[in-house]
């Protein structure tokens, strides 16, 4: 087990280093000199030379690469060209907001997906099962931005029951904690639903398949033979085992959720990393763009690592089976 964790950890570190290298190449491939913003007759060539030296741009590329890599790993992502503030402080504001949205979507899609998947498995080939197969196909094909607009049209503009943007209402600070809390939840409902719904469809299909696989196992027959109720066979024996692979699915859904957050944050004026990314692209604020890309990727890699380790903990065959197999 320790060996498995150590191996996976090492793989993740290598992955992060490769991503860093790719980022560095992207930065150098991009047109324009980072010094071009000092192209100003009021700045003397001598000053420009000094700044160049200060930024390490006079050094050979391999040395620049090492220095840049070291500062990135320390969390020093440079200064935003747009705000003239350290990129890390912009990220510190945006990351918690994105996490709040993603975790809400994650929770929502797991709950919806598992319930729908279980119902489909229990009533295999029933009308419900068929309808949910078709619904899954449909949900996969809906552009999230369009779904978001339609739900805003319905729930925010027509019936006015849910807010359509931002994380909280104006003037919310004067209210009691309960009002504040429900205000935040209300603001979370639409974006989290839109972000999670496609994954919920995937989860439902997965849960159904996993359940049907487990139900074919011998120990299920044994449980039934012992005279246990169908309910207990389903929930206690089958579900517990069928649910283990879900951990992997959660890990795999992370890039999808974080990528989806770009659009959702933009539509719902949610001040997270996705919105920061898009605004920075329009402003040609490269340091922010590269840093957001890097941080999001590290989050995905960490998420996958956690999922793998979690899976190995839940199902010890993974870690030990791997050792025996190799």
């Amino acid at each position: 087990m320790t060996r498995f964790v150590a191996e996976r950890l090492l793989q993740s570190v290598i992955l992060v280093l490769i991503v860093l290298t790719i980022t560095f190449f992207l930065m150098h491939l991009s047109p324009g000199d980072p010094m071009s913003r000092y192209d100003d007759p009021n700045i003397s060539p001598e000053t420009v030379r000094l700044i160049r030296e200060q930024l390490g741009l006079d050094k050979p590329v391999p040395e620049q690469y090492m220095r840049w890599m070291a500062s990135f790993l320390r969390g020093d992502f440079g200064v935003s060209l747009r705000f003239n503030r350290p990129v890390s402080s912009l990220l510190a504001e945006a990351i918690p907001n994105t996490l709040r949205l993603t975790i809400a979507a994650l929770t929502l899609y797991i709950v919806i997906g598992v319930i729908l998947g279980l119902l489909s498995a229990v009533r295999r080939y029933s009308l419900f099962d068929r309808l949910s197969t078709i619904a899954a196909l449909f949900v996969y094909s809906i552009p999230s931005f369009w779904l978001a607009l339609m739900l805003i049209l319905l729930f925010s503009l027509k019936f006015e029951i849910l807010p359509s943007s931002h994380m909280q209402s104006m003037g919310v600070s004067g209210m009691g904690w309960l009002a504040r809390f429900s205000d935040r939840i209300a603001h979370l409902v639409l974006p989290a639903f839109v972000l999670g719904v496609a994954s919920a469809a995937g989860m439902a299909r997965y849960m159904r398949g996993s359940m049907l696989d487990v139900l074919r196992e011998d120990y299920i027959r044994t449980a039934r033979a012992k005279g246990l109720s169908e309910r207990s066979v389903f929930l206690k024996h089958a579900f517990r085992n069928a649910a283990i692979p879900i951990v992997t699915i959660i890990g795999l859904s992370l890039p999808f959720l974080l990528g989806g957050a770009v659009i959702i944050e933009k539509i719902f004026s949610w001040p997270g990393m996705g919105a920061l990314m898009v605004d920075s692209i329009f402003a040609r604020d490269y340091p922010v763009v590269l840093a957001v890309n890097f941080v999001v990727t590290v989050m995905v890699i960490l998420g996958n690592l956690a999922a793998d380790i979690g899976y190995a903990l839940l199902d010890p065959r993974i870690a030990s089976g791997r050792k025996a197999g190799k």
């Binding site: 992207l26 196909l137 996969y140 094909s141 809906i142 552009p143 931005f145 369009w146 049209l153 890309n293």
Partner: protein, 287 residues
């Protein structure tokens, strides 16, 4: 002998495909969309970029001479929708072709070369796959200037990684088979073996997975256009049309609604077609 085996493989696959109503529905949708894109100037009632007589033409509701209404410039939504199919389909097609080409070459090299080359390539693929697709796409768009061809290229260039894994896995199984070993024994070069033996034998799987990928690429293009980072206006693109209706959702719901439905139908079409092809032709599925 070889000919009969080939023919029976394709004809039996085709028989399976024809009996699958979902797959056929997908094929009908996709073919219709290409016909619409091809004949857009003939069937469209108006001009896609011509401004109508403002303000009397602005935001006319569906019905009458404007079946799906007009947008804020008084342009006919149906016309723009029909022309918009061109962008989506061309982008989907060319971008997927680029992604398949890159993915097949890289996957073939990794799978055939093996050893350290394989390890290095696969680690880079892992790293690229860890970067959420939209972020990778946006980073590239931010760093390079925007044009329709660049967008198409980037859509393809950021989505080839899955093909690499697929092709590599296929090659690893085929590589060990007798006819490849025989070709090697006869002194065929690596290039010849990859091009003449390995790639043709993975083609079916590649085509199926490409079809399944087109839907995702069309969605990605629509998302970019919606963010204002895709195809530059006034060229009608569905994602951008949805965006244009955003400010007038309550007053003129049709501006956003119909292009969204067009995207859904297109993506469903490709997904059904891809599923159908996989069920009919993928050797793993029916063996």
């Amino acid at each position: 002998m070889k000919e009969t085996i080939k023919r029976s493989y394709w004809s039996s696959g085709w028989d399976r495909f024809r009996k699958n109503p979902m797959g056929m529905a997908g094929a009908v949708i996709v073919v219709s969309l290409y016909l619409i894109a091809l004949f857009a100037p003939v069937i469209a009632p108006g001009d896609p970029v011509d401004h109508g007589d403002l303000p009397s033409m602005r935001h006319l509701p569906p019905g009458g001479s404007h079946l799906l209404g007009t947008d804020k410039f008084g342009r006919d939504v149906l016309t723009r929708l029909l022309y918009g199919s061109r962008i989506s389909l061309v982008i989907g097609f060319i971008a997927v072709a680029i992604s398949v080409l890159i993915g097949t070459i890289v996957g073939a090299v990794a799978g055939y070369a093996g050893g350290i080359v394989d390890s290095v390539i696969m680690r880079i693929v892992d790293a690229l796959m860890a970067i959420p697709r939209l972020f990778l796409l946006l980073t590239c768009i931010a760093l390079f200037s925007r044009s329709i061809w660049l967008i198409i290229f980037l859509l393809g260039a950021t989505s080839w990684m899955a093909t690499v894994r697929l092709v590599r896995a296929q090659l690893l199984t085929i590589k060990e088979q007798d006819f490849v070993v025989a070709a090697e024994a006869l002194g065929a070069g690596k290039r010849r073996i990859i091009l003449k033996h390995l790639i043709p034998n993975t083609l079916t799987v590649i085509i199926i997975s490409a079809t399944l990928r087109i839907g995702g690429i069309i969605l990605a293009e629509a998302a970019l256009s919606f963010l204002g980072l895709g195809v530059p206006p006034p060229t009608p693109s569905w994602g951008q049309m949805v965006f244009e209706g955003r400010e007038v959702l309550l007053g003129a719901w049709w501006v956003s609604t119909f292009p969204g439905l067009a995207i859904i139908i297109t993506v469903i079409g490709y997904n059904l077609l891809g599923d159908g092809l996989r069920d009919a032709f993928d050797p793993v599925q029916f063996s």
